[in-house]
């Protein structure tokens, strides 16, 4: 489904600021996997997701989606297969456009953008229906600009936009990190629901160890540009947070350092 082979990313190569951020990542993601990713500050988690999405061309290595080599494909072409929700709630929507306009843009992802009307009444009805399932009261605010939404509402909206048309891969980068605990829990619950109902393949970076264990079928630990642990569904079931910390220390030879990490 998604395959990373020997992926290296070196930023600003050849300068004094050179940074070797991904150091030969190998990863095989199967159809239907829901992988949670944890790791310390600067481990390269976001960089790995950016590499998969195509924000930059990796320094070396290969990325394949469904056996197609996408290593050099730009973001907008890969977007046909990839849905994304970012850590910063402002990143996922056009803030000066309305909720329905944002949804309509996402709803027509992968189709050529023509001179047809940007939204139809039928779409509007459909959006109202899916929004009402979010239970955030957004179904009555189709014509509000998204700048007026709360962080949680925006993330829920972005999640909806990312999962229209069942992308092959859903990339979630700490998408609940900027939210208060209650909203974060709600958005996570929604994530699990959407991924489950649509049988999506997903990768989710989180700093919440408990979420990382509770959600998904696989877990990856990253440290300094390497995947140091790759835990499969069987192994994952019996683990608790202290186990996870122990495993991290054993594999990396140091303590987990992440100033946002939640241990309970």
């Amino acid at each position: 489904m998604l395959k990373l082979s020997e992926v290296h990313q070196i930023f600003e190569q050849g300068t004094i600021n050179e940074k070797h951020v991904l150091k030969g990542i190998d990863l095989d993601v199967e159809q239907g996997d829901f992988i949670t990713i944890i790791g310390g500050n600067g481990a390269g988690k976001s960089t790995m997701l950016n590499a998969i999405a195509g924000n930059f061309v990796i320094t070396s290595g290969k990325i394949e989606i469904d056996n197609t080599d996408v290593t050099r494909m730009p973001v907008y072409k890969r977007a046909k297969h990839i849905g994304r929700v970012f850590q910063d709630p402002r990143m996922g929507t056009a803030t000066d456009m309305t909720i329905e306009e944002n949804l309509a843009i996402a709803y027509r992802r992968g189709k050529p953008r023509t001179l047809k009307w940007g939204i139809t009444n039928k779409e509007r009805d459909y959006f109202r229906e899916v929004l009402s399932q979010l239970d955030l009261g957004l179904e009555n605010r189709l014509k509000d600009k998204t700048r007026f939404l709360s962080g949680g509402q925006r993330q829920a909206l972005t999640l909806l936009m990312a999962s229209f048309h069942h992308p092959k891969i859903l990339l979630l980068d700490e998408h609940t990190a900027a939210l208060d605990p209650k909203t974060a829990a709600k958005v996570l619950e929604l994530t699990v629901k959407i991924v489950g109902e649509n049988k999506l393949t997903a990768m989710m970076v989180t700093h919440n160890m408990r979420d990382a264990l509770r959600v998904g079928n696989r877990l990856i630990m990253m440290n300094k540009g390497n995947c140091i642990l790759n835990i499969n569904a069987e192994e994952k079931k019996g683990l608790d947070v202290p186990d996870l910390l122990n495993m991290f220390e054993k594999a990396s030879g140091e303590k987990m350092e992440n100033d946002r990490m939640l241990l309970d």
């Binding site: 056009a94 996402a106 992802r109 992968g110 953008r113 009307w117």
Partner: protein, 301 residues
């Protein structure tokens, strides 16, 4: 009273230029200096063609076409060659100076007694400024109606989203190079179109008539938005057109107070400075400038 009619005429003729600036500056979030050269280009093309015996209507459409091409150059420099938008615009503007001289063959083309779109109206019995108001109004309404439709199409949606959030729109599968190019072309096409009408009103094209275009455009956009608001795209377009008229009225009043026509550019700049002294206004303007100086890429770390 005639002072206001004159200001209204100029405001409406220049309104389409202000709308062009609004498209690059507000919708695309790019400070595009192509405007300065592009305005002269529109006037130059129109006057050269009209003096060559081409019909005023065709000459006007040709100006629009020339503006689209100028925008295409800046758009390609910015997106394909990754040159910061501000610099890309300066490059095109500079190159256009020579292009404009080539088009005109000299630094000033008077239209003398040649027929123009405006004389066609005055031949019907309208006074010069009234004819300008009628022509400006028709053009402005047509342009606003067109843009209202265009920015509500699929393509219009993704162009608006490009200026709003590049990150989001490329994640939604849109090639932002394409949308930026279309937007910059559209903006400059309208600037040249407006210049064409202005030249027909003034009965001449001059090599330096584009100087100050961007300041006048920005002043109109900001005055329009501050005074009339910006609830949605249609509302904004109308506000910018009215802003252009208001700008001319302010200028007319200042001139009436004893300043000379030569002081126009100084007055324009000072007006913009005064507008920028309002904190909210300053924030929205400097944010845009910063974005234009930065390179196009969007990264998520």
């Amino acid at each position: 009273m005639s002072l206001f009619i004159n200001a209204g005429a100029q405001g409406l003729l220049w309104a389409v230029m202000a709308i062009g600036v609004y498209i690059t500056y507000r919708i695309l979030d790019i400070a595009d200096l192509t405007a300065e050269g592009c305005f002269t280009l529109g006037a130059a093309v129109t006057c050269r063609l009209i003096t060559g015996g081409v019909s005023p209507l065709v000459s006007t459409v040709a100006a629009l076409g020339a503006g689209l091409v100028a925008g295409l150059v800046t758009g390609v420099l910015h997106t394909k060659f990754k040159i910061p938008a501000l610099l890309a615009g300066i490059l095109t503007m500079t190159a256009l100076w020579s292009v404009n001289l080539r088009v005109m063959g000299k630094s000033n083309i008077p239209l003398l007694k040649k027929g123009t779109l405006l004389t066609m109206l005055s031949d019907m019995g309208l006074e010069k400024d009234v004819a300008a108001i009628v022509a400006g109004l028709i053009l402005t309404v047509l342009v606003i109606a067109f843009l209202w439709w265009f920015f509500n199409t699929e393509t219009g949606y993704v162009i608006r989203a490009t200026g709003d959030n590049k990150n989001m729109i490329s994640a939604q599968g849109v090639d932002t190079n394409k949308t930026i190019i279309i937007g910059v072309m559209l903006g400059n096409g309208l600037i040249a179109l407006s210049a064409s009408l202005v030249a027909q009103y003034n009965s001449f094209a001059d090599i330096s008539m584009g100087i100050g275009t961007i300041v006048i455009g920005l002043a109109s956009v900001i005055i329009g938005e501050v005074v009339f608001g910006k609830r949605n795209i249609l509302h904004s377009l109308i506000a910018v057109a009215l802003g252009s008229v208001l700008y001319r009225i302010i200028i007319a009043i200042v001139l009436k107070l004893g300043l000379r026509a030569d002081d126009m550019k100084l007055i324009s700049a000072v007006m913009l400075v005064i507008a920028l002294c309002f904190p909210g206004v300053r924030d929205m303007v400097t944010k845009n400038l910063k974005n234009s100086v930065k390179r196009g890429g969007s990264q998520n770390a």
